[in-house]
Every structure is written in C-alpha cells, then in structure tokens.
C-alpha cells in the first residue's frame, strides 16, 4: 500500500541573519584581528631608520649585520647602498625604538672587524658571525639625529669608559706608536690612539685616555716616555738590557711617572710631551721651562765638525740652552765671499739666565743685548776632553770692540762671535800616547828587575846589614873620645901656653925696651947658633916619630878584631892622653920658666927645655910601642879568652870600636908628630 507522504511543511524562508551565517566565520575574523594586531604592534614597535656613512663597508650585509651597543643587539642593517656620488657606502640601520632617543649627536659608529695586531687579537667573534656595527653614545637623550658618519677605527674615548683625555706629543726622534697601551708600573691604565702628524710636520700627536681612577696619577709634573723597544747599556756594572715587557717591546707602549709631587691635576685636553726614554723624561722635570725659549743665531766663520744639535750652550759654565739647529750658510751678498759658514741656532731658556723679573724671551734678549755691548761673545769650545764634541760658550771679552747684537736679523737675532777655543786634546793625547808606547818600557823594566835583584842580594848580605850599626857605634865612640875631658883640655892648654908665650913676648918688649935691643940681638945671634941644633934635634925626633912602627901597629891592631871590650878600659890606654897632657904641662912649665927667667939669657934654657919637652914628647911617644906591646900581650890573652865567647857580634863590635879608638889616638899622635916636624916653630910661636 502506497501512502502518500504527508505534505512537506514549508517553513518560512525568512530567517534571522544569525541563523543564516555560519559560526565558522568567527575563525577568519579572529585570524584577521590577530594579523592586524601583530602588524600594528610590529609597526608601532618599529624603531626609526638611521643612515651611517662608511668609507668602506666590508662585510656589512643587509638584514644580517647587526648594530651593537655594549655588545647587545639594538638594530639591524636593512639596506646597504651608495651615496649619490658613489663616494661612500651608506648602511641603513633599523634601530630599536627604546634606544633611538639616545642616538643623538654624541653617537659614533664603527665597524668591528677581526683584527690581529701586536696587542692581540680582537673581534674574534666576527670571524664566524660576520662583522657588526658597534655604536656608542652617551646616556642622555638628546635631539635625535638620523644621519651619521661612521669611523674607520674604534674610537679611543667612548662612553662607558670614562677617563682623562690627553694629548700626547712627540718631538724629535721619539716615535709614537699608534693605538698602544699606556702603562703605569706595568699596569695598563690607559690607551693612546692613532698618532697624527701635526699640520706643519714638526711633531706627532696622538690623543690618549687615562681611565678612571688612574687619572688622578696625572699632574702637570707628569712626564711620559716611550717604553717600547729596549735600552742596552754597557757600564762598569756590566752589560744591561732593559725593556718593560715583551708586549711593549714588540708593540710599543707609553709609560709615565710623576717625578716630583705637588703638581696641579691635569685637565681634559692637556698636552704632554712624550720623551724617548726615562732619563730624558726625568731630566726634563728639572729644567722645565714654560716660557718660550729665546732663539738666537750665531754665525761661525770656521766650519768645525763636532757641533751637533743638542750641544749645550753655556754661560759661565752654566747650561742656559742648547743648540737647536746647525746649518751651513753661503751668502755672498752678506759676507762678500762664497765661503761656507756655520749658522747655529741656539735655543736659550730665559729662566736659566736668572733674570730679574719675568723670565721671558724678550727680557732675555734685552739682557743679552746689554751684555754684548759690554763684551759678551759666543764662541765654540770643546765640550769634553776626549769626546771631541763642541759646545757654544758665551764669554766676556775684556777688550772687545764695540759690536751690537743684531736684533733685526731674520729669522733670529744674530749674536757676535769670537775666536774659538778648541783644545785639540785628542790629538795631543794621541801624540803623548804614541810617545809613551814608543818608550823602551820592556828594556827599562828588565834593567830595573836586574837592578832590584842585585839590590836585594846586596841588602840581604849580612855584612851590609851590619854596616849601619857599626857606623852608628863608630860615631858614638868618636863622640865619646872627643867629649873626653882630656881631649877637650888639649886646645885649652895649648891656648893657655900660647897666651903665655905672647905675654912673654910682650914683657920682652916692655921690660928691656930699646936699650937692650942690641944685647938682645947679640944674645939672639948667640942663641940662634943653637937653633939649628934644636931643629936638627926636632928633625931627629920627627924622624924617630916617623920611624915608629905605627902602621905595623895599626895593622896589628886591625888584626885583633876579636878583642874584648875590656881593652879600652886598660889603665895605659886611659893614661895615654894623660901622658900627652903631662908633656904639654911640662912644656907649659918650661915656658913659664922662660917667662920668669931672664930674657935672651934664658932663651937657650928655654930652647933646651923645649928640646927636653920634645924629647919627652918623643919619649912618651917612644913609650907607645911598649905600651902597645903590652896591649898586644893583653889582647892576645884576651883574644884567647874570648875564643870561648863564640864570636858574639856585640863583643866583636865593641872590640873593634876600642881598637879603632886606639888607632885614632895613635893617628893623633902621629899627626902631632908630623905637625911638629913640619914646623917646629909653631910649637914655640903659636903660629
């Protein structure tokens, strides 16, 4: 059975839009909203674009190279293009929104690349990850800038590493190695940037920074010097090799020290000189001169080698400056010939002149002008004895002709000169040395050695060693003999006798006078007849005396060197002078008699007495051999006795002395005898 399905209920077509629209539409709407939200937020968060112009942009890639600030990524290079004239590369960097306000005029940018220097390797991370741009700016937001010029190298001074900013200047031979550390006692306390040549080429200068807190080490008394390289010195203490560190040896470095305290702290922007080495840096502290030096030219006629830049300029021996330039000068118009002259520029420190008032170059020039009028001149002088170097000396000339200091000369005032005083010591010294070397020193020395050897042998000889003592003892004995009373009495007695004779002669003249002259003459004639006999007798006496075996005796005595000391004490020996004096006393008595007796009548008696006296002298002299014979006996006895005394040197000497005394006494006797023989009258007349 088929059943018709019930009619289909037709629902009204109109239904609300809620029923007609699917819920799924919510999904795209939400997606759209999210997309819009993300797009907006990313747009809103997007920082500004800045343009950095680099000369080259090696390694900088769009969308890859980052901008770093303190090693944190703060931006990305979005585009790398050229400037309009293709002169440089522009990197367009999208920077983070929150750092953008700080990127103001203080900002600097540079590209960090891997770098291998003597100081080490830097930027190693960029080897793997590519270069990045480093930015640096201060912490204060300022007016934003959008266009910058990038630096070639990393700047020395950057925010975040505060310090004292200085300029380091190197004059002369000092070399400034750019981008080197600054050490203080081995600690790196700062850095020196790349060195630049000054505009006039006179010096190199580099900016430097001393990091906090080391900046307070710098005062205006601080001196910098180049610590790179090494110094080698050879002195009395041996060879010395000195360098700061291997790093600074290779890569260079600058160090400093404050040699004197009390300097004012340095300010940013101060410029310091860098010296070649520590000693010069130290020396510069003590001849510091803040004022401009006075430059003076001196023209020397002669052209002498040895004057170098840096040679001292001295006034009265005090260094007042130095030679800053030496040049040849040919000026036909000025000098009238084409000779080469030496033009020397002197740099004089006004402070060194001890000027009253302010030490300025002008004052110094005024002072020198005045002194030149009084005779101050410049001259070349030897700086050292051996070095051959020269210096410039200011000397006062007494009779200098009137010359003015030429203040109008260009470029510097010209000082008058006088003759040089160059002592060519080296040449003289050379000559002297040559002569010395030509001396036959070896022969001389050989002779001297031989001589000294002989001397040594001589001195070492026992006999010679004894000699001084013997001499001394001999002198002592002489003194003893001379000092003995009897010997001293001899002259006195003689004198007394002669005085009496003289008195007798006077009495003769006074008493008898002219009346008895004839008789006297007769008597004298008579008496004179006896005189030859007397003389003959005296001659005989003398002959006898001469015949005395004195020499034999002396030889014998000399043979008895080993005699004992007692010998001198023998009664006879002591009696010898006594005998002599006794003889003289008899002579005296005779003369007294003569005086007391009657004149000429007594002359004969006197003569006979004199003869007797002479006889007695002869007798007493004749007694000598006997005496000596006795002594001989005694001494020979003594010598046998003394054999047992073992040749004591003391005994020997004493014996020798005694014998010498004896011999002297004998000599005296013989000389007396000789005297009498020569002139018998002297005995009578005292002449």
């Amino acid at each position: 059975m088929s059943e018709t399905p019930p009619p289909v209920p037709i629902e009204p077509a109109r239904r609300s839009w809620v029923e007609r629209v699917s819920v799924v539409w919510v999904v795209p709407i939400i997606a759209l909203l999210i997309a819009l939200g993300v797009a907006y937020s990313s747009y809103a968060d997007r920082g500004p674009l800045i343009e950095i112009t680099f000369e080259t942009a090696a390694g900088v890639k769009a969308n890859q190279t980052e901008l770093h600030y303190r090693d944190v990524v703060v931006g990305l290079v979005e585009e790398v293009r050229f400037t309009d004239d293709l002169g440089a590369v522009v990197a367009v960097v999208r920077v983070d929104k929150d750092v953008a306000p700080f990127i103001d005029s203080s900002a600097r940018f540079w590209v960090v690349r891997p770098e291998v220097t003597t100081q080490g390797v830097s930027g190693l991370d960029t080897v793997l990850n590519g270069v990045y741009i480093e930015g640096s700016w201060d912490n204060v937001p300022d007016e934003e800038r959008r266009s910058f010029v990038g630096l070639t190298d990393a700047p020395l001074i950057r925010p975040g590493r505060p310090g004292l900013e200085l300029g380091l200047r190197a004059v002369g031979d000092t070399v400034l190695n750019g981008d080197t550390p600054i050490f203080f006692r081995g600690v790196e306390v700062g850095r020196m940037g790349t060195a630049r040549i000054s505009r006039d080429g006179g010096f190199t200068i580099a900016e430097a920074i001393i990091y906090e807190p080391y900046d307070r080490l710098i005062s205006d008394a601080t001196r910098f010097w180049d610590s790179s390289g090494f110094t080698f010195s050879l002195g009395p203490a041996g060879a010395e090799l000195d360098f700061t560190s291997l790093a600074s040896l290779v890569g260079g470095g600058v160090t400093f020290d404050t040699f004197i305290s009390g300097g004012a702290p340095a300010q940013d922007g101060d410029v310091f000189d860098v010296f070649a080495e520590r000693t010069t840096a130290r020396a510069s502290v003590f001849n510091v001169s803040d004022v401009e030096p006075l430059n003076i030219n001196v023209i020397f006629e002669e052209n002498v080698a040895g004057l170098a830049v840096g040679a001292p300029v001295e006034l009265n021996g005090l260094r007042i400056g130095e030679v800053s330039n030496v040049n040849g000068l040919v000026d036909r118009a000025r000098f009238g010939d084409a000779r080469v002259r030496l033009i020397v520029t002197l740099s004089i420190q006004p402070a060194r002149l001890g000027l009253q008032g302010e030490a300025t170059a002008q004052n110094a020039l005024d002072f020198l002008t005045g002194r030149v009028v009084s005779g101050l001149r410049a001259r070349l002088a030897s700086a050292g004895l051996l070095s051959g170097g020269l210096k410039v000396e200011f000397v006062m000339l007494e009779d200098a002709e009137f010359v003015m200091l030429d203040r109008s000369a260009e470029p510097f005032p010209v000082m008058p000169v006088t003759d040089s005083e160059i002592s060519d010591v080296t040449v003289s010294a050379e000559g002297a040395l040559e002569r010395i070397s030509a001396l036959p020193v070896e022969e001389l020395l050989n002779s001297a050695i031989d001589f000294l050897n002989a001397g040594t042998a001589l001195v070492a000889d026992q006999a010679l060693q004894d000699t001084p003592e013997e001499i001394q003892a001999l002198i002592g004995d002489m003194r003893g003999l001379v000092g003995s009373e009897a010997a001293q009495n001899v002259p006195v007695l003689m004198e007394a006798a002669l005085q009496r004779i003289e008195a007798v002669a006077r009495q003769l003249e006074e008493d008898r006078a002219v009346a008895r002259v004839l008789a006297a003459v007769d008597a004298a004639t008579e008496a004179a007849s006896g005189v030859p006999d007397l003389v003959a007798e005296l001659n005989r006496v003398a002959a006898t005396a001469a015949e005395l075996p004195l020499e034999t005796l002396v030889t014998e005595l000399t043979d008895l060197v080993d005699a004992a000391e007692d010998v001198i004490d023998t009664e006879d020996a002591r009696a010898l002078p006594g005998d002599l004096s006794a003889a003289l006393a008899e002579l005296q008595a005779t003369l007294t008699e003569l005086r007391e007796g009657g004149a000429v009548a007594n002359v004969n008696a006197a003569m006979s007495s004199a003869r007797q006296a002479a006889d007695q002298v002869a007798l007493s002299a004749q007694d000598l051999p006997r005496l000596l014979q006795r002594m001989n006996t005694v001494l020979s006895q003594a010598s046998t006795t003394l054999q047992s005394y073992d040749e004591s040197s003391q005994l020997n000497r004493s014996a020798r002395e005694a014998l010498r005394d004896l011999s002297k006494a004998a000599d005296a006797v013989s000389s007396l005898a000789r005297a009498i023989e020569r002139n018998p009258n002297s005995l009578l007349l005292g002449r």
């Binding site: 289909v8 007609r20 629209v21 699917s22 999904v27 795209p28 997606a31 759209l32 793997l128």
Partner: protein
C-alpha cells in the same frame, strides 16, 4: 522523494528527521551554511599561508653562519646545490599541493554556488583528490620536525624550525577543514535542476 540520508552512516531517513538514531549524527538535507564554512576555513587557511611563505621555514645555524630559509628560498638553495629531486619533492609538497588545494576548493565552491559547465563527475573526482592528498601537504612540516630533532649538535650545527613552519601547519589544517566542510551533494544538486 522525501527522504534524507545520514551524512555519516548513510542510513536513509524520512525527510525532517533531525538526528540519525543509528549513529547519532545530525541530519540536514541541504546544509545552507556549508559553503560559508568552506569559505571561512579557506580564507583562514590562505591567511596562514601568506606568512608561511614570508617567514623562514628553517633556521640552520652552523659554526660560521646562520642561515634562514623560506620555503621558496630553500627550494632554490637545493636547486643551486644540485639536489633537484629533493627540491622537486619539497616544491610539490609545499607549494604546488597547497596552492592547488586552494584553487580546487575555490573552484568547487564557486561551481556549487554559480553553476558550471564542467561535468559533476569530474568535480567529484577533484574533490576526492583534494581530500586524499591534503594530508600529504604536511610533508614539509614533517621534514622540518625531523631535521630539528636530529640536527642538534650544539655549537657546531643546529636546525630549528622557523615561524613559517607553524603557519604552514595551520594553513594545511585550515584547508583540510575547508575541504571537509564542503557538502558533495551540492555538486549533484546542480545536475538535477
């Protein structure tokens, strides 16, 4: 005819039945909102597909470089390295298939709304292809997932998925939802009328 088939278990019910008592699925004779859902998912899928191509899919970090590749960029890199086979596979899976799906779904939906001259049988086949092949679009995501988990050599080399992977996955999911939302009966409705 006054009957309606259950879309899940295909049991025929009298017209007006709202719920299949056998499988419990909702029974609607002609879902008027089906095309709206298709378009909605389609649009979301397309929106996800844009960043999936703009953002990098792979982030390859080696010792010396960091490389970020989008889908097209990766294909070009592979071609440059001479790996044409792999490049072709990735190009098919990540570019051709998704784009084809978008076009196919859009064509089916437009045909259902406006009518077309193409045979219904062809369109049905097209739909089935889309449905079948849709899951293979995930091949690119799989590649990224496998590479990311395998190549993690710390500093030496590392592969990480880029943001595009997420968007690409979403895009595939949304296009599949879009395809499933399509009511194939609409293809034949046009033929009957």
């Amino acid at each position: 005819m006054g009957v309606v088939g259950c879309p899940r278990c295909t049991k025929v019910w009298p017209l007006g039945t709202t719920r299949c008592t056998r499988c419990g699925a909702q029974i609607v004779s002609r879902d008027r909102k089906a095309l709206q859902r298709v378009w909605a998912w389609w649009i979301v899928g397309l929106m996800a597909y844009i960043p999936a191509n703009l953002y990098p899919m792979l982030q390859t970090r080696t010792l010396v470089s960091v490389q970020q590749d989008t889908i097209i960029g990766g294909v070009i890199t592979l071609v440059n390295h001479g790996s044409f086979g792999i490049a072709l596979v990735i190009f098919l899976a990540s570019v051709m298939i998704p784009v084809g799906k978008f076009l196919a779904i859009a064509f089916l939906a437009l045909a259902a709304q406006r009518g077309t001259t193409s045979p219904s049988r062809h369109r049905m086949g097209l739909y089935e292809i889309v449905e079948y092949i849709g899951r293979w679009s995930m091949i690119d995501v799989f590649v990224v997932a496998i590479l990311s988990s395998l190549v993690q050599l710390n500093t030496l080399a590392a592969v990480n998925p880029g943001p595009a992977a997420l968007f690409f996955g979403l895009s595939v999911i949304f296009t599949m939802l879009s395809a499933q939302s399509f009511d194939t009966r609409l293809i034949w409705d046009a033929e009957r009328s």
